[in-house]
Symmetry: C2
Subunit: 425 residues, 2 copies
């Protein structure tokens, strides 16, 4: 089999993109996939639901790419024109596929409905095209070589359908056609409590590597390192990643909290679950956001019992038993109040751990001594200790950011304490 | 002055877009702006930091548009090539602008730093181009007519800088050049508790109008109607919107909760503030998300005192004083438990209102009688009443969605009760 050279072009079809009604997430997904697969890609085009303009875009793309990837325009409405327009451009007839028709009818039947006549057009593909099956939605896509050395792939505009179809069918096809040399595997390490630049400095010698590559990313206070390896097989690529991961984890120590789909909430949850321990939270400036984050994890009721949102100071005294004199003296945003909140909620809810947040999320309420972004996080531990940490998140990134990094920092503080308690077991 | 006809093309320059490292939010922003201004726009192009390919994209765009809007490639690094490449394409020299240089130097001086030599290139624009000032970042853009009937605008890739520059300089310029006929004003009405299709049906006769236009949008359970009017002045356009807004509000009644930047949390907050009343929340399946949403509003401590996250049933009994027998009999997800939670938190925190949520967010824990997506919301009112409502959100859209629409539905239930209590005052 000949090795195909050349590049890909992403062509997103949809007037809603030209109106700015939706964000073009499909282009980003496909771009990253192409980068990961090592397929060059130099242009992206967005065009509306207009057959003349779609054909112009195809004509241009054929001149500069050998793999055209379309999203959108596969639905049942008169606006959905991708397949008929491509057939017209390459001057071949549309052919009805009985298998597609049956599949669409079966999907409607499952919901107890008859297929509307308008869906019939979704069974039409240009002659010679193969079906690119859509396990979720009604519209399939296609894989087509309309002329030698040119591949056209079409996907629906719905991101979840497009992504599933890409992974299940398009990637294996490209591998088989030798567009992809070998297999690409990546692994993301996740960090909290270290800045992107500090981490990049620590792992600097790994960032210039060829295979595997290591690249840092940062978002909302979290830093990630993505390790990507190309190998002849899944196992081969994984074997390239393993020693790099081990070394990066060794260098970064406790700042690395997990990998891939882990989150601080899931990692802390796993720790509590394995210790058979329970947690309660006391929240002031986050207003419930810490509890909300913990309970994003299904099954979190096994270890998270609940908490007290003490937004008003009177609630800190009444429900969390914070000493009113110390509250008045030190102020609500102080180490002593954070510690009393953590102890209070642990005691009130009868859990092993109590975790508290009190701070100034802004934009108002700051003072020279206690500026916006000042946050104390308190932790009452399972062995009866209590301590707190002071954070200064600054006021430049706003209230939402301060509240989010506060709750993540609280989880991170608990994570490190749970690790320490494991080590001392 | 001649009225310019023709269409715009958005050209986003940046290899990071081709690698999928960033989402193309600039294209969406500009697309919506062009739609709002009534400027036709048929193609968007993304191209990497490569002068040959940028020139190819410009050549194509010149054939099909008369207003080329560039984002990206204005920074100080060797990768930033938009201005020199455009100068080369249109065959004019680059000219250094002393005013830009001084502005960049002043911005560095403010931070106590000297301008690095690499920033000097940002002061170079093609001969004949006007400066498009950047009040935030170092890189200015330009407005240029390289040939009669063709306008080129360039913006940095940083969305906040691009958006500010677009609004402050580009829009007035386009108005002055008569690309925009008059002024465009839009107003968004916000709805909760009605589906997009039901609302569209109720306001059907307004959806086909010309000026103002009315368009429905839906996201995460919320429905919006955007009214957009074109007028000769701000006041003229606003005068066109006012009667349509009044009529849409009349038709939709209480389902319309606000407009523009309002949120359910801000509207409920304003109601409580004007009543001088206070609120506490009791949360089970949302785990703190309702409190989190309420406290996104700065100053919410004036009316939101706090709450109890009763994720575990023992907390419902211990802290919210839910009757353990009734809890065992009716189950945690029931009308009676929702009502006792609302009453309990109101009593424990001493507030005027108590609002509660108990439900099955899934993906596990459902049963035939109590499926995933079943949620009860309880409300203890300021006049000593308590009632609850049963919601069935279904299991198809997942845990996060169920939790989000639950907390919004709780705020909406409170909003309607506050409205009723105002009417009965």
């Amino acid at each position: 089999m000949e090795v195909m050279n050349g590049s890909a072009e992403i062509i997103c079809v949809g007037t809603e993109l030209l109106l700015g009604d939706i964000l073009n997430r499909n282009a980003q997904f496909l771009a990253r996939q192409l980068a990961d697969l090592g397929i060059p890609h130099y242009y992206q085009t967005v065009v509306g639901d207009n057959p003349v303009r779609i054909k112009r875009a195809v004509a241009i793309a054929c001149e500069r790419a050998r793999l055209l990837i379309f999203t959108g325009g596969l639905g049942p409405t008169p606006d959905d024109l991708t397949h008929p327009t491509l057939a017209e451009f390459f001057d071949v007839p549309l052919v009805e596929h009985g298998a597609i028709l049956q599949d669409i009818q079966a999907k409607f039947a499952q919901r107890g409905r008859a297929m509307p006549e308008s869906n019939r057009k979704q069974a039409l593909l240009p002659e010679g095209a193969e079906i690119l099956p859509n396990p979720i939605g009604s519209a399939p896509g296609m894989i087509w070589q309309p002329r030698p050395g040119l591949i056209v792939m079409t996907f629906p505009g719905v991101p979840s359908e497009m992504q599933g179809m890409w992974q299940a069918t398009a990637v294996p096809y490209l591998q088989q056609q030798q567009w992809v040399q070998g297999v690409l595997v990546s692994r993301t390490l996740r960090f909290w409590g270290i800045s992107e630049s500090a981490l990049a400095e620590r792992v600097a010698s790994w960032l210039g590597q060829g295979n595997p590559t290591v690249a840092p990313y940062a978002s909302r206070g979290e830093v990630k390192l993505r390790i990507t390896a190309r190998g002849t097989s899944q196992a081969d690529a994984a074997a390239l990643i393993a020693p790099v991961e081990t070394e990066l984890r060794r260098i970064s120590g406790l700042d690395c909290y997990g990998s891939d789909d882990d989150s601080l909430a899931s990692v802390v949850g796993e720790q509590l679950r394995s210790h058979h321990q329970t947690l309660a939270v006391a929240e002031s400036c986050t207003g419930g956001g810490l509890g909300e984050l913990l309970t994003t994890i299904p099954g979190s009721s096994a270890y998270f019992w609940g908490g007290i949102i003490a937004y008003d100071n009177s609630i800190k005294v009444a429900l969390l038993k914070v000493d009113p004199d110390q509250l008045a003296q030190a102020g609500a945003v102080s180490a002593t109040v954070a510690e009393q909140m953590a102890l209070g909620v642990k005691h009130q809810l009868g859990t092993d751990w109590g975790l508290s947040i009190t701070g100034i999320a802004g934009p108002h309420g700051g003072s020279p001594g206690k500026p916006v972004g000042l946050v104390y996080i308190g932790l009452a531990t399972c062995d009866g200790q209590v301590h707190s940490r002071r954070y200064q998140f600054g006021d430049t990134r706003g209230r939402d950011w301060i509240r989010h990094v506060s709750r993540c920092s609280a989880l991170d503080q608990l994570r490190r304490a749970l690790l320490a308690s494991t080590l001392s077991d």
